[in-house]
Symmetry: C2
Subunit: 349 residues, 2 copies
């Protein structure tokens, strides 16, 4: 891939069969994306229902084509060998990326199935032991990359070091953070705090070439103190899901309270609705477009199952930016440096 | 301790020297508690500044006395042997509980110091390998007990089984949940999901006599699906701190957005302010009073360092309820049953 390529139209393979609301919202999101962004969308899934949705939407824009994939992976499907063998929209879409017919893949389908198939089809980048799922969440000033949020429940220090490198590259290249500050999630800022794993990782990251600030705490997921928070996938998954539900709950509680208030208060809330909307939008996971799977040899972004058309459009944008920013080439280069340093250190010891 | 005792006035030893705002807010909270609740408060700390604060507040109510403790443990103090040897307000206050001169202890001081001293002074309940810190958080319908949220970064299956028992007893006895539903925190509801630890714990809890519903996810910290969420202290600490900051951030963002809105919108928000306040109050950690330390031989509740008088009053209430509800006696009884079952199982195997 040349640098010039990265500036052109992004060809995004889109899993048209995943998500909680079926192909209708995905097709709608794809059409919005084709209109608003410099992308070509390959809608991957069962041709007949997709053609029907396109007709219903008033026809397909020129930047959109359908690629047939006969099988569907259900949202609640437990990932088995059978899942992986199906000619599913995920498999076909990811093969497009592998074979160079698409630049990036986006799905709002079954997350576990998607990252398993992505690893199988795309393989890992050279030097990556474990790919990781990164979430991009709003903080008080900009956005924080949380890595890993679900792909790896059990990690070792080496894995977390790679997560740190990949997260920092993503923050810098895709989110344009000048010198991303990296923090290690622990239960206290002191170096002695944490688990055996975090104490090991702390030593490794202190010696790294990253802009590493040391241990951070749960508070710092949203404080903006760091741009990248590194943690094992169990902790990250719990923290991310807890946060998403809490944000929804608070806004839900507010709506409830307002509805049971006096007419005057309800009128007041109506007048202040722009403020509510602005906050809702800022907290909305749809804004980030989805979670990039880092460390696989290709660009793959996984969105929320409950995505509406708006979220699908943002996911397509995130997938295109992932490709355009050359994240994978930079990860590769950084990991070569890391590997050379590891060998040099091993030689000295 | 007799059942009759539990219905009387609770004698609460209060660490008067901890917290971010010094003795003034603690003294104010103690006076509020004495006026509103059936408690006798022992204000433990440096006599001179405490007497000054009491004079400033217009004198001490009859239900309040000062107990002198010459040393102070700083909020940021790293817990060392020297910390534990000091005649600090924590040590003196917890000795009052140990020696039967107080029924419960409450502190908004250095959390790590408090639970270390509590374990040393009070010892653990018979059959408890590891005490655990439990947080009580609001959910959509009532309150969820999260255990452990900070005391133990590395846990084994046996520890988590004990956490489950202690959390369920606390929910039932102190929060009056009829049959607390217990969930195990994992990264997916399927039994195969999670870490090696959670898969082990799942098997143990399935065989327990608890009302165990299986794995839950980050979403369920606030969904109200379960009344008790069991997890290792690393995961719990991260999830709790992340949630607290997020709740603050959302309300902060809303205020910011409203302030930069039009005069009409600001007026509107003013009209709806009761709704805001109701939600803020519901999400406020001060409402729960603090985190009970379960598994030690005495009642100890730890509150937020940033507690104001209102939070201190609620902490004193929580400490008194912890004692009144006989949580520790019930934990003891449940652990005897657990131990008998373990022995019976070991005999069979």
């Amino acid at each position: 891939m040349t640098a010039a390529q990265s500036n052109g139209t992004a060809r995004v393979a889109l899993d048209a069969m995943g998500g909680d609301f079926g192909p209708a919202v995905i097709v709608a999101g794809a059409i919005e994306a084709c209109r608003a962004l410099d992308v070509h969308v390959q809608l991957v899934g069962q041709r007949a229902p997709l053609e029907q949705e396109l007709r219903r939407a008033g026809g397909a824009p020129a930047e959109l084509e359908i690629l047939d994939a006969p099988h569907v992976i259900e949202m609640a499907e437990k990932v088995s060998r059978a899942t992986l063998k199906k000619r599913s929209s995920m498999l076909v879409g990811l093969e497009r990326v592998r074979d160079g017919h698409a630049d990036a893949f986006f799905s709002v389908g079954n997350t576990a199935a998607c990252w398993t198939i992505a690893k199988l089809v795309l393989g890992t980048l050279e030097g990556v032991e474990r790919p990781a799922l990164a979430a991009v969440v709003p903080n008080r000033v900009s956005r924080t990359v949380l890595i890993d949020v679900g792909a790896n429940a059990a990690c070792n220090a080496r894995n977390l070091e790679e997560f740190a490198v990949m997260g920092a590259v993503y923050s810098q290249a895709a989110l344009r953070t000048p010198e991303p500050k990296v923090g290690l999630m622990s239960v206290g800022e002191e170096e002695t705090k944490g688990s055996e794993l975090t104490r090991d990782v702390l030593e490794v990251l202190k010696r790294s070439q990253l802009n590493f600030v040391g241990n951070v705490e749960g508070h710092d997921l949203f404080s903006g103190k760091v741009d990248v928070v590194v943690m094992d996938g169990f902790t990250g998954n719990v923290a991310l899901k807890a946060s998403e539900t809490l944000a929804e709950s608070i806004l839900h509680l507010l709506r409830e309270e307002i509805e049971r208030s006096s007419i005057l208060a309800r009128l007041g809330a109506g007048l202040a609705r722009h403020a509510f909307r602005a906050v809702k939008k800022r907290m909305d996971p749809a804004e980030s477009g989805g979670a990039p799977l880092l460390g696989v040899n290709g660009c793959c972004v996984i969105g929320h199952g409950n995505s509406q058309a708006y979220a699908v459009r943002h996911g397509i944008r995130a997938a295109a930016e992932f490709w355009r920013s050359g994240v994978n080439q930079r990860i590769q280069a950084e990991l070569r440096v890391l590997s050379a340093r590891r060998e040099a250190t091993a030689g000295v010891e």
